[in-house]
């Protein structure tokens, strides 16, 4: 019964979404406040209905009602409660429902927000959100109904895949979706602004918090995904440039550009065209991501089960949304401000450059991700584009980006002078000398210390920027706006992340050996000793486990437990590595095939500063939240005073 009620709520939500798409738009046309206001109510009702539908599906999973097909194939009565709940979005139907619920939440929050928006802008934005909701709810109802019943009812569910039972997998998708979907508000506001022909400072101010929220969630989501993959897959990869990772990275890159271009628009109503296009493309990238994951158009380890009808439907949604918005842009571009000439050497110039570089980076990731598809279409040849390509093309672009990222915050708005950068000279000279000396002494690859030098340069220049602004006094430091702190923390996050990436790729080392019990393998000063390997059997797999005692110069560090598991039913072997995370060094070890007589293959890994990657990303996302909530507070206070 519960499933039918949920299904019914979803159908109701579809009608509410349709009315939300149409009625406020008519209201704007007819200048009717009543009709325009309808959008706000509809958004709240729609959100409640979607939330209720999601709630019923959760009840189905928690109550292990296996007469519902989705629960039967993705849940199991023996699962812990947390994974019964996370199982709701661990599959295509449930996750797309979650996606849609998020659109509803963002619409409702937008409808209720105290932002001082013109009625028409709000009404049209909500109408556009209603349109997006309509598309996605229809997609669920027509191609991916999560409430479908199954007859006869199985005795128990099928979803006891142990790989999917992980706290990381439970919270990573909701964060990611909060990011993806959050950009829908930017998209809808861009569409509304195009219709109204008003893209200016105020619009930038209104757009900012929504973009910031989406970006912060997306950063957090990507960071959690990376951490989870690193830990769970256990071969030391924190980012593998898989298509599904790439499609989450592209909206992030464009979203980052958008945050920065909003700053320019906010100041001097420049970059109007560019910001509107960015707002449209960022959300379009989210849609493309959804399309890729669910259509099977590109092969990926993460892809959901493939159904061509779904691919066609989402492509149609993408064409309607993005194609519609870009057509609107083509028709209305004349009403936007003509881009004014700007000084290259100024903060504005730096932000434009930032946008140019981030757009290039996005393009590169896009090209690499979809090139196999394009070349197949054009020439019929099949090639693969893997991690080595992205590393080779992405790194140079990021290098250039970081160089300017360090300099731009030191420049003044509007017009600045190269002499503003003079403060950097001593640190630049020292860093360059440091790079050369260290490279010569340690005989490392040139990139290793250059990369570290870049990160250090970025950190120093950010500190110098804040120092000069506050004249190095604590009193002025306390007076800095939250937004400025946001900038500082985010840029420091990038410096920390860069340090982690460079260290990990330059100094991590893997030792592999065939060890008998008691034998020792040495890696980067750590000794890994194999202890009492044993085999056994648990619920649905056989295992070969062992303790690896890790010492450093004889002193005990930690004992790692590693296991190789064999699942007979799925004919699948997985490896569970044992980890020791510390701020400076991460070590992990994994066991492979072998026996007591010939020894076991042991992989022992040493990865310095790899945790800095996630810490840096975490700082970036926190910077976003700080700047978001600080910004909202300040706005409230100003309103109170007025």
């Amino acid at each position: 019964m519960i499933a039918e009620i949920g299904h019914f709520a979803l159908i109701l939500a579809l009608f509410v979404a349709m009315s939300q798409a149409v009625i406020p738009a008519i209201g704007t046309r007819k200048d009717s406040p009543v009709l325009m206001n309808f959008g706000r109510r509809a958004a709240v009702v729609q959100c409640a209905l979607l939330g209720f539908a999601f709630f019923t599906l959760t009840l189905v999973f928690v109550g292990s009602d296996f007469s519902v097909k989705l629960a039967a194939s993705h849940s199991h009565s023996a699962k812990p409660l947390l994974y019964k709940i996370s199982g709701v979005w661990g599959n295509h139907e449930g996750s797309i429902l979650l996606w849609t619920v998020m659109i509803g939440i963002y619409s409702a929050v937008f409808a209720c927000s105290k932002q001082d928006l013109p009625d028409k802008l709000r009404a049209l934005t909500l109408a556009c959100q209603g349109g997006l909701s309509t598309g996605f709810i229809a997609f669920i109802l027509f191609t991916s109904n999560p409430f479908e019943r199954l007859f006869p009812t199985p005795i128990d569910g099928n979803g006891l895949n142990p790989v999917l039972q992980d706290p990381g997998l439970a919270i990573h998708p909701p964060m990611l979706y909060l990011g993806y979907v959050g950009f829908s508000i930017a998209f809808s506001m861009a569409v509304a602004a195009l219709i109204l022909g008003k893209v200016d400072k105020d619009w930038a101010k209104w757009l900012r918090p929504w973009t910031m929220a989406a970006w912060s969630f997306l950063t957090l989501g990507i960071m959690l995904g990376s951490l989870w993959a690193y830990y769970e897959l256990g071969w030391g990869g924190w980012w593998v440039w898989d298509p599904v990772e790439n499609v989450s990275f592209m909206p992030w890159l464009l979203g980052t550009a958008l945050i920065h271009s909003i700053m320019v628009l906010d100041r001097k109503t420049n970059l109007a065209h560019w910001t509107v296009l960015l707002a449209i493309s960022t959300f379009s990238m989210s849609l493309i991501g959804t399309f890729v994951v669910r259509s099977g158009i590109l092969v990926s380890v993460h892809a959901f089960a493939v159904d061509p009808a779904r691919g066609v439907f989402i492509l149609a949604l993408l064409v309607a949304a993005t194609g519609g918005a870009l057509t609107l842009y083509a028709l209305r571009a004349k009403t936007l401000f003509v881009p004014a000439e700007f000084e290259r050497i100024s903060k504005d110039g730096g932000l434009v450059l930032n946008n140019m570089l981030l757009a290039t980076a996005t393009f590169t990731v896009f090209l690499g991700t979809f090139y196999p598809l394009f070349i197949d279409a054009v020439k019929g040849s099949q090639i693969s584009v893997g991690a080595p390509y992205f590393e080779a093309t992405f790194a140079p672009i990021m290098t250039v980006l970081i160089i300017f990222m360090g300099a731009a915050p030191l420049l003044k708005w509007r017009k600045s002078n190269l002499s503003d950068l003079k403060v950097l000279r001593p640190s630049l000279i020292l860093i360059t000398l440091g790079i050369v000396t260290a490279t010569v002494i340690f005989k490392t690859h040139i990139f290793a210390f250059t990369g570290l030098g870049l990160a250090l340069y970025l950190a120093l220049s950010s500190i110098i920027a804040i120092g000069r602004r506050t004249q190095w006094t604590a009193k002025l430091l306390a007076k800095q706006s939250v937004r400025y702190w946001g900038f500082f923390i985010a840029h420091m996050g990038v410096a920390i992340l860069t340090t982690g990436v460079v260290s990990m790729s330059s100094w991590s080392h893997e030792a592999i050996g065939r060890l008998k019990p008691g034998d020792t393998l040495t890696n980067s000063g750590y000794e890994f000793t194999l202890q009492n390997p044993s085999t056994g059997r648990r619920e649905n797999y056989e295992y070969l486990g062992a303790n690896i005692r890790v010492t450093r110069a004889g002193k005990p560090v930690k004992t790692l437990y590693t296991e190789q598991r064999f699942y007979p039913v799925r004919d699948m072997v997985t490896t569970e590595a044992g980890f020791d995370f510390t701020p400076a060094v991460t070590i992990f070890a994994a066991i492979g095939e072998g026996n007591n007589d010939d020894g076991y293959i042991i992989r022992a890994n040493y990865q310095p500063l790899v945790t800095w990657i996630w810490f840096g990303a975490f700082l970036m996302s926190m910077a976003g939240f700080i700047s978001l909530f600080g910004g909202i507070k300040t706005a409230d206070r100003q309103k109170g005073r007025a």
């Binding site: 259509s295 158009i297 590109l298 066609v312 993005t322 870009l326 279409a377």
Partner: protein, 174 residues
């Protein structure tokens, strides 16, 4: 007309996506067409002491079929192969891939043996040389032992009459 640039770019991307939907990314084109069948030296499935090499394929048009007792699609294909072997005069060579010798033999005893000879490749030595991705796959070589055709997936009766058989007849006429 700069304002039309974004929509034009998007149209191109959309077209590429639409094309992508019509393709199965898991299907790989054969790269070995028109090249000699790779050299190999493997045991025969029935007789571990007998060595089989690419010489087996010399002198006449042959069809090499990759199968395994573990392979579900092979069960579908097998009756078709049995039928072909019974009705046609053709050199059909089996390649038992990633299998246990005993299991492969039991499977053939149960379902019948359509093959003239069977190569035993438990460790994918020949399979990797042939660029095999999954079973079943079927290769056709000409009289000089050059690969001329590759069929991916189970052979249906229509595949046989409409594609494979004409190819073989053509190659025999060469």
């Amino acid at each position: 007309m700069r304002r039309f640039i974004p929509i034009i770019i998007f149209a191109i991307i959309g077209l590429a996506f639409a094309f992508g939907l019509t393709r199965d990314p898991r299907k790989l084109d054969a790269v070995l067409i028109q090249t000699p069948f790779p050299q190999f030296s493997l045991q025969s499935l029935e007789d571990p002491s007998a060595r089989m090499t690419e010489q087996t394929l010399q002198g006449q048009v042959s069809m090499i079929n990759i199968f395994g007792s573990w392979c579900v699609a092979c069960n579908v294909e097998h009756p078709v192969l049995m039928d072909i072997a019974a009705r046609e005069d053709i050199k059909l060579i089996g390649m038992n891939w990633r299998d246990e010798r005993a299991q492969g033999q039991v499977w053939l005893a149960k379902h019948g043996n359509p093959y003239t000879e069977i190569i035993f490749d438990p460790e994918s030595l020949l399979a990797v040389k042939l660029g095999v991705v999954g079973a079943p796959e079927t290769f056709i070589t000409d009289k000089t032992g050059i690969i001329r055709y590759k069929h991916i997936g189970p052979i249906s009766p229509e595949d046989w009459t409409q594609t494979l058989k004409p190819v073989i007849l053509e190659l025999r006429a060469e």
